[in-house]
């Protein structure tokens, strides 16, 4: 057996010497006629691959290839365009009628009907299904029946969802929500085939959807092979023969495989390689804004930070952070200094506007003055907390503290408090134990300004970890949601942002870009606003 291994080893060495690249596997061949296979880096999904249970990019990547929902966000503009939906109509911004297009079916030939959506949504909302994304359905009438705060649900269906016929269903919401149809591009709202409910384990081993790809094979923990579905009738047919997703435990390794020619696409270029990207890849590198913002949230449940006058201190700290320098030196311009509390990827039309102004601009003298005017740092110190098990949180936290210390010139008043695991960090955060500003990252679920403001700063909102509460802010958000005209709604949200600037419940740090590098075989590689490659458009060869 050892002899055989050696022989293979030697053969490999010879093959490499002769210039062959395909030693020990490698990517499949394929011409330029849409049959080529893209090999792409992947991370193990954190949860079972159910649409309503997937809340991170790696699982989302697969769902984006396997499913098409009522709407889909245009990868270029972020606009929510009808996909399976023919129309979604409402007269009162509260009761909606959804009509489906003809001809959509799942890859097992089952047609996509109104029932496919209603069953999927009822399943997602049911507390017994333990789906992470169940709160997305909480504004549908009857949610409490399937998702009571404690105990078992009385029923399996929500009253607010009614199937009229195979192509039509109605949705009743508990409150007015004008932009609700635009949220439906989120993957949690995907339709599900009957096999999902009848053979759940089998479905999880080999998911079946209605998107441009089908699952050829799925080996948990190592990879998934997706192939173009020839029967797909949607407008966005795959331009390649399929995608081989390969699990990497470290994005640096994936990058190494890319420059060694073993991999076609890496959608997360590691920070430490950013300086080499130009050299290694030339123009085969994408760096564009994504719907991600990083902020430092203040613990306003702590009187030390929330008492009157402290808003000046909070603004002062914001002005003591040299965002330009940090994004340039630490992130090599793959992050952009933040100017508001949303994301530059929303675009001006979507509501992105410089709402922070001077308060997000580095000015040591102004910072000092603001902090002194506000009564000084609580206890003369500030501790910045984040988990350090992922990302480059440790590096930027050090840089932020150095920036504050240099600006204030009072020695090391700012220190970092690294937390070992995300789980531990989340527990400290959600039990309101942190006593200094802490990292909060927010990745938009859908490209709407509402998604960046309401869940984070509305009184009692689910991800309002700093316990910020402001009546005027809440009022403006309510008004915006009731507004049927999108432009007017956005203006209201921007007014609400002005209150954030006055109160500074969190310091906007920077917008995070999506980054990707690809091999010479590929063309037409793009990232969408969620920093996920648009696989169906990639051409091979």
């Amino acid at each position: 057996m050892r002899g055989a291994t050696h022989a293979k080893w030697a053969a490999c060495a010879v093959a490499v010497a002769l210039g062959a690249t395909a030693c020990g596997g490698g990517s499949d061949g394929g011409g330029g006629d849409g049959a080529g296979i893209v090999s792409s880096s992947w991370g193990d999904p954190q949860n079972p691959l159910e649409p309503a249970n997937t809340n991170e990019v790696q699982g989302g990547k697969v769902l984006d290839m396997l499913f098409r929902g009522l709407k889909r966000y245009d990868p270029e503009t972020g606009e929510a365009v009808n996909m399976v939906a023919e129309s979604i109509e409402s007269t009162d911004q509260q009761n909606f009628t959804v009509t489906l297009k003809d001809g959509w079916k799942f890859s097992n030939d089952e047609p996509v009907t109104a029932q496919s959506f209603v069953d999927a949504w009822n399943y997602a909302a049911d507390v017994r299904s333990k789906q992470n994304n169940s709160p997305f359905f909480s504004n549908i009438v009857g949610y409490e029946d399937v998702h009571p705060e404690s105990g078992d649900p009385k029923t399996k269906t929500m009253k607010g969802l009614v199937v009229k016929d195979a192509k039509t269903f109605t949705v009743a919401l508990t409150d007015r929500f004008s932009t609700w149809p635009d949220t439906l591009g989120y993957q949690a709202f995907s339709p599900l085939p009957k096999s999902f409910f009848t053979d759940h384990a089998g479905w999880l081993d080999k998911p079946v959807g209605n998107g441009p790809y089908t699952v050829d094979s799925y080996t948990k923990g190592s990879g998934m092979k997706l192939r173009k579905w020839d029967g797909y009738t949607g407008p966005d047919k795959a331009q390649n023969g399929g995608v081989d997703l390969k699990v990497y435990t470290d994005n640096n390794t994936a990058y190494t495989d890319l420059i060694a020619g073993n991999l076609d696409l890496v959608d997360d270029v590691p920070a430490q390689q950013l300086k080499n990207v130009k050299n290694d890849l030339g123009d085969r590198y994408i760096n564009q804004p994504a719907l991600i913002i990083q902020t430092l949230t203040f613990p306003l449940y702590d009187p030390g930070w929330s008492k009157a006058g402290m808003e000046k201190v909070r603004q002062g700290i914001s002005r003591a952070i040299n965002r330009e320098e940090i994004t340039k030196q630490i992130f090599q311009d793959t992050r952009t200094p933040a100017k508001d509390w949303t994301s530059s990827a929303l675009g001006e039309k979507g509501g992105f506007k410089d709402m922070c102004g001077d308060l997000c601009t580095y000015d040591p003298a102004a910072a000092k003055k603001l902090i002194e005017d506000g009564g000084g740092l609580p206890g003369g110190k500030v501790t910045v907390t984040s988990n350090v098990d992922t990302g480059s949180h440790r590096v930027w936290m050090d840089a932020v503290c150095n920036s504050i210390n240099n600006a204030l010139g009072r020695g090391p008043v700012c220190t970092v408090n690294p937390v070992g695991t995300f789980a531990d960090y989340r527990n400290q955060q959600s039990s309101y134990k942190l006593t200094g500003p802490f990292r909060s990252g927010w990745q938009g679920d859908y490209p709407l300004i509402q998604n960046f403001l309401q869940p984070l700063y509305y009184t009692g909102a689910s991800s309002n970890y700093g316990k910020f509460s402001n009546k005027d802010f809440d009022k403006l958000v309510d008004e915006a949601n009731a507004e049927s005209d999108t432009a007017k709604a956005i203006a209201k949200f921007q007014d609400a942002e002005k209150i954030l600037a006055q109160q500074m419940p969190s310091i906007p740090l920077w917008y995070q870009n999506g980054s990707a590098g690809y091999s010479e075989r590929l063309s037409d590689v793009k990232l969408n606003q969620f920093s996920v490659p648009v696989y169906d458009q990639i051409k091979v060869g």
């Binding site: 630490i330 840089a399 150095n402």
Partner: protein, 329 residues
């Protein structure tokens, strides 16, 4: 350096090993003197002889240049860790991000790290934490490990079963898990929690090595002879077994010193090691590691300082081991 001794070339002058399997040591540097002395081996001899083992060792050490050099080096490192400002005038926490990863310039001979801090100043100031962690953790783990391992090996039976199995359980604890559980609750900014943690996870390895050595050493004829002569367990262990079993422990401990200093870096990387604003080589090495393609100078200096420290202790360990070996004299 004197000629090394190759036993396999016939015709060399040799010292006859008096007892047991252990032969005389090759003592390259002090060969002539040891040959003149040709002392009786410690062991079944009378008590005064045994007592002279340690004083002889000291006598010999003092004249061993390797020992003197290593001691001077360690002294230098200790002085630097206590008074870093003797050779560095800057502030290790004073950083200018605009100079991130830049090379050397006047006044900053080693260049800057990612945060724009001066690498030279940080390397000098990092000595304190790193050397404290290295020395204290090594001494702690070596003492605890050789004590428990020695007892297990010497007495065997129940002692061995219990102590070895406890060691096995400790072996099984992943460093990361242990670190996250035991160190995340600590808020102290001193090095002692980290030292304690490393001792806790480091002793089983040294215990295994010590146990193996003691099991071999106690088979030696002179140990059996001492037992026959009615020597007590304590004396046998200390006077006859320990000096013969100590060499592998010293070797492992000196290398472990280096790995412990690096382990501190792993813990810091996990967010449970030394807390800021403490400066250490470990932290700087782990920060530099990911930037190896962009700024290798960031790694060179703290890693070089770590190398010199380990070198000093390896030399010291070699010299002490040679001097302690009773078969040599």
């Amino acid at each position: 350096m004197p000629e090394p001794y190759d036993p396999l070339q016939p015709g060399e002058k040799e010292v006859i090993a008096p007892t047991g399997q252990g032969g005389p040591m090759d003592l390259a540097l002090e060969e002539a003197q040891s040959l003149e002395k040709t002392l009786e081996p410690a062991g079944p001899g009378p008590q005064e002889k045994a007592r002279s083992l340690w004083s002889d060792a000291w006598h010999q050490l003092r004249r061993n240049p390797v020992f003197v050099i290593s001691l001077l080096l360690i002294l230098f490192l200790v002085v630097i860790s206590i008074w870093p400002q003797l050779i560095a005038s800057g502030d290790p926490l004073q950083c200018d991000l605009s100079k991130s990863q830049q090379g050397s310039e006047p006044g900053h001979p080693f260049g800057f790290d990612t945060q724009g801090c001066d690498v030279y100043t940080r390397t000098v100031y990092g000595a304190q934490a790193s050397i404290t962690v290295g020395i204290c953790a090594t001494v702690g783990a070596a003492l605890l490990g050789s004590l428990l391992g020695g007892l297990a090996g010497f007495f065997g039976g129940w002692w061995d079963a219990v102590l070895s199995r406890v060691a096995d359980i400790f072996f099984g604890i992943p460093v990361i898990l242990g670190g996250l559980v035991l160190l995340s609750v600590v808020t102290s900014t001193t090095v002692w929690p980290v030292v304690g943690f490393i001792v806790l996870l480091g002793w089983p390895q040294i215990a295994r090595i010590a146990r193996g050595s003691v099991i071999t050493a106690k088979q030696n004829d002179y140990v059996q002879a001492a037992r026959a002569l009615g020597a007590g367990n304590g004396r046998m262990l200390l006077r006859h077994v320990a000096p013969n079993a100590i060499a592998p422990v010293i070797v492992v401990a000196t290398i472990a010193l280096g790995t412990y200093i690096s382990l501190e870096a792993t813990l810091s990387f996990l967010g449970v090691g030394l807390r800021p604003p403490t400066v250490s080589w470990g932290i700087d090495i782990s920060n530099a590691a990911s930037q190896i393609r962009n700024a290798p100078h960031m790694l060179l200096w703290p890693a070089g300082a770590l190398s010199i420290t380990v070198l000093a202790f390896i030399m010291l360990g070699d010299a002490v081991r040679d001097a302690l070996d009773p078969k040599l004299r």
